[in-house]
C-alpha cells in the first residue's frame, strides 16, 4: 500500500449529503476482476450523459477541478453498498483525501485499506473548506503526521484520526501481514473457541 504522509493538491466541492457508493461507482463497473482503471467511471452518471459525453456542469469536469486531489462533501459520505470499488475509483481518479462532516462506516474503513484518508470535521469547518473549494483551483495541504489541513490563507484546521489507522497510513503497512504476525495468538484462540463451541467446527 502506498503510504499517506502529506498531500498537496486542488480541492473540489461536492456539496451533497448522503453521497452513496452507487453514485461514486455505478454497478455496471463492478464486473471487473481488477482494482485498477475505475477512475474513468467515477461518479459516472453525474459526470457523463447517456451518450457518454461529459456533463459540463459536474464539478470534476470543470477545468480547475479536473486534477482535484481532495474532495469536500456533505454528511454521510459513502453510504450504501460495501463496494471497495468506490475508494478504488476515487483513488484511480487521483482523489486520496475526502473531507466531510461524517462518513458511512464501511466506506470509511475501506479508504484506509487503500492509502486514502477520510477526514471528518465539524460542519463549520467543512463549510469553510467548501467555500474555499468553490473559489476554483485552490490548493490545500493535508499533513497526516501533524493531523492538520493548511488552507490557502495559512490557517491550519486540525483533525482526529484513529492512531492505528494513522500508523498504517504513514507506514503504508499491510494489515494482513501485521495480523499474520499474530498467528500463534489466533491459533490459541481458535483452539479454545473450538472447545467452547464445538458445533462451529463440526
Amino acid at each position: 500500500m502506498q503510504p499517506f504522509t502529506n498531500l498537496t493538491g486542488v480541492v473540489a466541492p461536492l456539496p451533497m449529503i448522503n453521497v452513496d457508493t452507487d453514485m461514486i461507482i455505478p454497478k455496471q463497473f463492478l464486473k471487473t476482476i481488477k482494482r485498477s482503471g475505475l477512475g474513468a467511471s467515477l461518479f459516472y452518471e453525474m459526470r457523463f450523459d447517456a451518450n457518454g459525453a461529459e456533463k459540463a456542469d459536474f464539478v470534476l469536469n470543470q477545468p480547475p477541478y479536473r486534477d482535484a486531489r481532495i474532495l469536500v462533501a456533505g454528511e454521510n459520505f459513502g453510504c450504501g453498498s460495501s463496494r471497495e470499488h468506490a475508494p478504488w475509483a476515487l483513488l484511480d481518479f487521483g482523489i486520496r483525501c475526502i473531507i466531510a462532516p461524517s462518513f458511512a462506516d464501511i466506506f470509511f474503513n475501506n479508504c484506509f485499506k487503500n492509502g486514502m484518508l477520510p477526514v471528518a470535521l465539524p460542519n463549520a469547518e467543512v463549510d469553510a473548506l467548501m467555500t474555499i473549494a468553490r473559489r476554483g483551483g485552490e490548493i490545500l495541504t493535508v499533513d497526516l503526521e501533524q493531523q492538520g489541513i493548511t488552507c490557502p490563507d495559512g490557517r491550519i484546521i486540525s483533525f482526529d484520526v484513529d492512531p492505528f489507522s494513522k500508523e498504517c497510513l504513514l507506514g503504508g503497512l499491510d494489515e494482513i501481514g501485521l495480523t499474520l504476525q499474530k498467528a500463534p495468538i489466533i491459533e490459541d484462540f481458535e483452539q479454545a473457541h473450538r472447545v467452547r463451541h464445538p458445533w462451529l467446527f463440526a
Partner: protein, 474 residues
C-alpha cells in the same frame, strides 16, 4: 430508559467479547470470524491478493460461496450472455476450486442470494460472527449473530487470517411495542424505523431490535428488518435468539445436530441482553401507529405512509436537506404535495435479499390471486434461491403469479441492483421490494419506490401506488 446494572451486557457485547483474539494498545481488536459468505463481485481481487502473497485460505470450511449479483434470471441453459458477468462468475468458481471453498454453482438448486442461502442452509447460527463483502450481511443478525458487511480488502483479511481488525461499535436499542396492524408487515416496520432515525442514524452503532412486535415476527420477518439496518447507517442489526430461531434452524443441512444441537441451544439461550444492560442510544416505536410505507425519494429515509403525500422541500429543517429533497424530487419526477396513491408505475419487482423468501412470495401471491397486473405495468417475481423457487412452485404460487400476468424468474439479486440484464429504462418508475432507492440503483435514470411484497403486488394490480389494506390485506 431503564436503569443500568454494572456488568450487565448486551447481546452485542456478549458476542463481541467471545470473539476478541487480541486487543491492541489503541483499543483496536483482532476479532475472530466464524463464518464467511463469498460472492462473485467483491471477492476476485481478494483471491488475487492471496495468490500474489502466496497465502492459503486459513479455514476454507468456514466459507460458503455463491454467485448471485450477475446471474441471469431467465433461461440459464446457455450460460451467461454478458461476457464480463460470465468472467466474474467463472472466476469465483475457479477461485473456490483453487482454495477449497464450498461453492453452489448456478445449476445447483441451493444457489440463490447469499443472504438467503446462509440462513436456509443453517450456515448462519446465533452467537457467531459472520461477514461478507456485501452491506446486506446485516440480514443474518436476525439469528442473534454479529453479521456485517466488509470491503474486498477485509474479505482478503478474513480469508487469510480468519480475523478482522475492528473497534467495538456502540449499542443502540430500537424497541417496537404493541402489534402491527392489519396489512402492515416487517418491511413497513423497518422502513418506519429508518424514517424515524434517518439514513445515518445508526452510524457507528449495532442496532438491537426488541419489543413485542419484534418478538412476534417470524424468522423471515426478522431477516427483513435486520437486512435494512445498513439503510439506517448501522453495519449490523441484532435480534435475540429464541424458540422461533431454534425452530427455524433445527434440521437445516449445516445446523448442528445431536449432542452438538443441545450444547448449541444451551449457549444460545445465554445470549439475550442482560436485564439492565446499557445502550448508548434508545429509540421507541409503537407498532400500532405504523401504516403501510412507501418511499418517495432517493434515500431509504425518504419514506411516508401510503396515505400520505410527497413532502414539501421548503418545509425541510436545514439547507442541505432541502437541496437533497429538491434533487430527489427532480430525479423522481414528482411534485411536492402529490398524494402517493396518485403515482402511476411502470414496473414491479418482487424479490431481493430483503423480500425474496417464501413468506414474501406468499404475501404477494395472496394479493395477486385472482387479479390481473394492470395493462400499463410489467411485473416480475424473482425468488431469492432455488429452494425458495421450488417451495413456491410446490405450493402453486408460480401459477398464481403467472395467471395474474407476473413473470416468474430464476433466483438471484436481479433488479435490486441491476447488475444482470434486469433493469429499469431511464424514467421508468418501479414499485420494488428491494432495499435501496438510490439514483440509478435499478438502472440509470430509473425511479424506485420501496415497499413490502403485498404493497408491490397491490401496485402491480392498480397500476399505481396503492394501499394494500383496500385489497383485503395480506
Amino acid at each position: 430508559m431503564t436503569a443500568t446494572i454494572p456488568g450487565a451486557r448486551t447481546l452485542f457485547d456478549k458476542i463481541w467479547d467471545a470473539h476478541v483474539v487480541d486487543v491492541q494498545d489503541d483499543g483496536t481488536c483482532v476479532l475472530y470470524i466464524d463464518r464467511h459468505l463469498v460472492h462473485e463481485v467483491t471477492s476476485p481481487q481478494a483471491f488475487e491478493g492471496l495468490r500474489i502473497a502466496g497465502l492459503p485460505v486459513r479455514r476454507p470450511e468456514a466459507a460458503l460461496a455463491v454467485a448471485d449479483h450477475n446471474v441471469p434470471t431467465t433461461d440459464r441453459s446457455r450460460g451467461i450472455a454478458d461476457a464480463e458477468s460470465r468472467i466474474q462468475v467463472d472466476t469465483l468458481a475457479a477461485n473456490c476450486a483453487e482454495f477449497g471453498i464450498r461453492y453452489f454453482s448456478m445449476d445447483d438448486v441451493r444457489q440463490g442470494i447469499v443472504h438467503i442461502i446462509g440462513p436456509e442452509q443453517g450456515f448462519t447460527l446465533p452467537g457467531t460472527t459472520i461477514v461478507c463483502g456485501d452491506s446486506h450481511t446485516s440480514t443474518h443478525g436476525a439469528f442473534g449473530a454479529l453479521a456485517f458487511g466488509v470491503g474486498t480488502s477485509e474479505v482478503e483479511h478474513v480469508l487469510a487470517t480468519q480475523t478482522l481488525l475492528q473497534k467495538p461499535a456502540k449499542n443502540m436499542l430500537v424497541t417496537v411495542d404493541g402489534a402491527l396492524p392489519f396489512g402492515v408487515g416487517p418491511k413497513d416496520l423497518v422502513l418506519a424505523i429508518i424514517g424515524a432515525i434517518g439514513t445515518a442514524g445508526g452510524t457507528g452503532h449495532v442496532i438491537e431490535y426488541a419489543g413485542a412486535a419484534i418478538r412476534a415476527l417470524s424468522m423471515e420477518g426478522r431477516m427483513t428488518v435486520c437486512n435494512m439496518s445498513i439503510e439506517a447507517g448501522a453495519r449490523a442489526g441484532l435480534i435475540a435468539p429464541d424458540e422461533t430461531t431454534f425452530a427455524y434452524l433445527k434440521g437445516r443441512p449445516m445446523a448442528p445436530d445431536g449432542d452438538h444441537w443441545d450444547a448449541a441451544v444451551a449457549h444460545w439461550l445465554s445470549l439475550p441482553s442482560d436485564p439492565g444492560a446499557a445502550y448508548d442510544t434508545e429509540v421507541h416505536l409503537d407498532a400500532a401507529a405504523i401504516a403501510p410505507q412507501v418511499t418517495w425519494g432517493t434515500s431509504p429515509q425518504d419514506v411516508v405512509a401510503i396515505t400520505g403525500a410527497v413532502p414539501v422541500p421548503e418545509e425541510a429543517g436545514d439547507d442541505g436537506r432541502r437541496r437533497a429533497m429538491l434533487r430527489s424530487l427532480e430525479y423522481m419526477g414528482l411534485k411536492a404535495g402529490t398524494p402517493m396513491r396518485d403515482v402511476a408505475i411502470d414496473r414491479v419487482f418482487i424479490g431481493s435479499c430483503t423480500n425474496g423468501r417464501i413468506e414474501d412470495l406468499r404475501e404477494a401471491a395472496a394479493v395477486a390471486r385472482g387479479r390481473k397486473v394492470a395493462s400499463n405495468v410489467e411485473a416480475m417475481v424473482v425468488p431469492g434461491s432455488g429452494l425458495v423457487k421450488q417451495m413456491a412452485e410446490a405450493e402453486g404460487l408460480h401459477r398464481v403469479f403467472l395467471e395474474a400476468g407476473f413473470e416468474w424468474r430464476e433466483p438471484g439479486c436481479s433488479m435490486c441492483l441491476a447488475m444482470n440484464a434486469d433493469r429499469l429504462a431511464p424514467g421508468e418508475r418501479c414499485a420494488s421490494t428491494s432495499n435501496r432507492n438510490f439514483e440509478g440503483r435499478q438502472g440509470q435514470g430509473g425511479r424506485t419506490h420501496l415497499m413490502s411484497p403485498s404493497m408491490a403486488a397491490a401496485a402491480a394490480v392498480a397500476g399505481r401506488l396503492a394501499d394494500v389494506r383496500e385489497f383485503g390485506g395480506s
